[in-house]
Structures are given as C-alpha cells and as structure tokens.
Symmetry: C2
Subunit: 202 residues, 2 copies
C-alpha cells in the first residue's frame, strides 16, 4: 500500500492495563512490529533482553543520547527508558508499522517528530479501580503506590494531546478498539494517494 | 460519551459495492442510524418509502431547497437526491451517529457543513472489475454503462478529499475496515474531553 510505515503509540497510567492490551494487539496483528525500548533498569523475573526491553548499561544509554540517536527518553524512578530513532526510522522506511509503548513524556517527544503518528491514551474505568489495581501489585509497597498515583495525576494532564482515548472497562472491547484505531489509520486517504493515481490512470 | 453524534459518509462509484457494504455495516452496528435520503426518482421494485429513500415529488423537493432545508442535493440523470439538514442536525443533537450514503458532490457539500465528519471513499479493486460489474447489471443498457463509466472518472477526481479510502477487493475485509473507521472515530480524544475532566476531578 503506502510506502512508509507509521507509528502507533500506546500510553496510559500504570495499572490501566497497557501491557496486557499491547500483548493482545501484537498477537492479533502480525504485520505490526513491537518497537522494543531501551532501558537501564534491571530485568524483572521472566523479562527477556531484546524482547521486553533492550537492557543496556547507563554508559551505553548516555552515549546514545549524546550521539542524538534517541527519539525519546526519560528517567523514571532512577532508570532511563527510551526509543532509538535510528531503529524506528529504519523500520518505517521499510514499510513496517510500529507499535510503541511509552509514557506521556515519551509520547510528547514522539509526536513532535512523527506528527502523523497515532497516539492512543488508555484510561482505566475509574480512579478507584486504578488504585485497587496498583495496591494489588504484590511487588509494590504503599509509598510506591502513592508515588504512582501522583504520576497518574500528571499523566492525565497530558491525555488530551493524544489522538485517541480508549477506556479499559472491558478488556475485549479495549483490545478491539485499539485494533480498530490501527486499521482505520491504515485507511487514511493521504496514505493511498499513489493507489488513487494509478486507478485513475488505468 | 460525547454529547453530539457524528456523521459517517460512504461514497464510491456505482458498482463499487456501496449498498452491500452499507447494509452490512448498519446490521452490525445497531447504534448507527441510516440517514434516509430524499429523492424524486421512482421507487425500484422492492424499495420502500422511508427505508430506502423518502420518495417525494419534485415540487416537494424544490420547496425544501427553497426553505434552506437541504444539507446537500444533486440532480442525477434527471432525478433529485438529497439529505435534509434538519433531520441530520436533530439526530446528531440527540447523540445519534448517522450513516450517509451520498455521491461525491453530496459528500463535498456535507464536508463543508460537518468538517469533523468521517468521509469514506469506496474503491472497486480495479477499473476492469468495475466495468464488468456495471455491464452485469441487467437493468442497464450499453449507453447507460458508458455514462456511468464517465461518472466514475469524475468521482475518482474527488476521492482524495475523503478522510478514508477502502478498497472493496474482499467484501468481509471492506466491511471490517469501514466498521473499524467508525469505531476509531468514536474514540477520538476531542470527543471525550468531558470524560477526561471528570476523571481528573475524581
């Protein structure tokens, strides 16, 4: 179809169900590739290098920042997270659509570089549900939960800049909606002007 | 969700499969209402007044034009076709999403009045397939076919102004794509600013 690939960015507060939805969408849409982020944080049990993240040293990450390679990056709780612009541009140039999973600041930086990208903000059904989900995470103590709720407040102030908003009050519905947004974006006329020209000339 | 309904307009050259797809989408999405057009042409066998079209006299139609009631209208092969703006605005005001089936000139007029609307252009897989489909219609003789192919040429020059382009090379895929475009548009952030505000305030 259109030559260039496009980026689909999913953000949302922790506890909104972002990872679950990302996994499902990527399973359902094999022509969509996950853009693996770089991070300096330690792998959690079960996480694989090159699949969940590219786990790199702080020195390595900072060298990439200096080289201008990072499309977006941020320090969260003392760890660096980011996306390599080099990898993204190469994939898009090959016609590959990319799915990115970034926080609101990363999305903001990406939106400047990829203004035609699709930016989806995932909202939990309510603040109460979100709080319960965060407290339910056995890995986090109360002060971490509070820190994350503060973060939620901040992330919500950025939601209005996204192109789309999906409410995760029902997982199947939310997955279907994210997939619909991707499918619809692929049908945007501006992506098929060449096809139109060819049809007219035929 | 958002208070106002929105309009979804499907256009495409005759023989692209517009009616088939419209019927399927309206069956699958019961919360989408078909905006019934007015026409002065005679009903074809099986067509029902108020369902397929509002069949009205030429005098009636022209009185509505004079009264400024028509959102768009056009004369095609000696018959008037159009959409009542009064009916559309009333439905949207009640939060009802509307599905419209208009030709390219109608869509152009609607786009001026409803700039946030979604405009989908349906393309047949190729000019050859289109020509075969038109010749296959037992109701039309060769000169009508030629007249319609001329019309196709004209309609294609307008396709680039649509927001989305769907190729009907596979009916199931085309239906799914039109439905995805509708679902995705319903998730546009600008339609949910109130929801975001409420969440932030909670």
């Amino acid at each position: 179809m259109s030559g260039e690939g496009q980026i689909f960015v999913l953000s949302g507060p922790p506890g909104a169900g972002k990872s679950t939805i990302a996994t499902r969408v990527l399973q359902d849409m094999p022509d969509l590739a996950y853009s693996v982020s770089l991070t300096t944080r330690q792998p959690r049990p079960g996480e694989q290098d090159g699949v969940d993240y590219h786990f790199v040293s702080r020195e390595d990450f900072q060298a990439r920042i200096t080289a201008g390679e990072m499309a977006e990056y941020e320090e969260i709780f003392g760890n660096l997270y980011g996306t390599s612009e080099k990898i993204v541009r190469r994939a898009l140039g090959q016609g590959q659509d990319l799915f990115l999973d970034t926080d609101v600041n990363g999305a903001e930086q990406l939106q400047k570089r990829f203004p035609d990208g699709v930016f989806i903000f995932l909202l939990p059904p309510s603040r109460k549900v979100l709080e319960d989900r965060l407290r339910g995470r056995a890995t986090e103590d109360e002060s971490q939960v509070r820190q994350r709720l503060e973060r939620v407040r901040y992330e919500l102030t950025k939601a209005k800049n996204y192109t789309h908003l999906v409410v995760n009050d029902n997982l199947e519905k939310a997955v279907a909606e994210v997939e619909a947004i991707i499918t619809a974006s692929r049908r945007r006329t501006q992506r098929h002007l060449k096809l139109l020209e060819e049809f007219q000339a035929s």
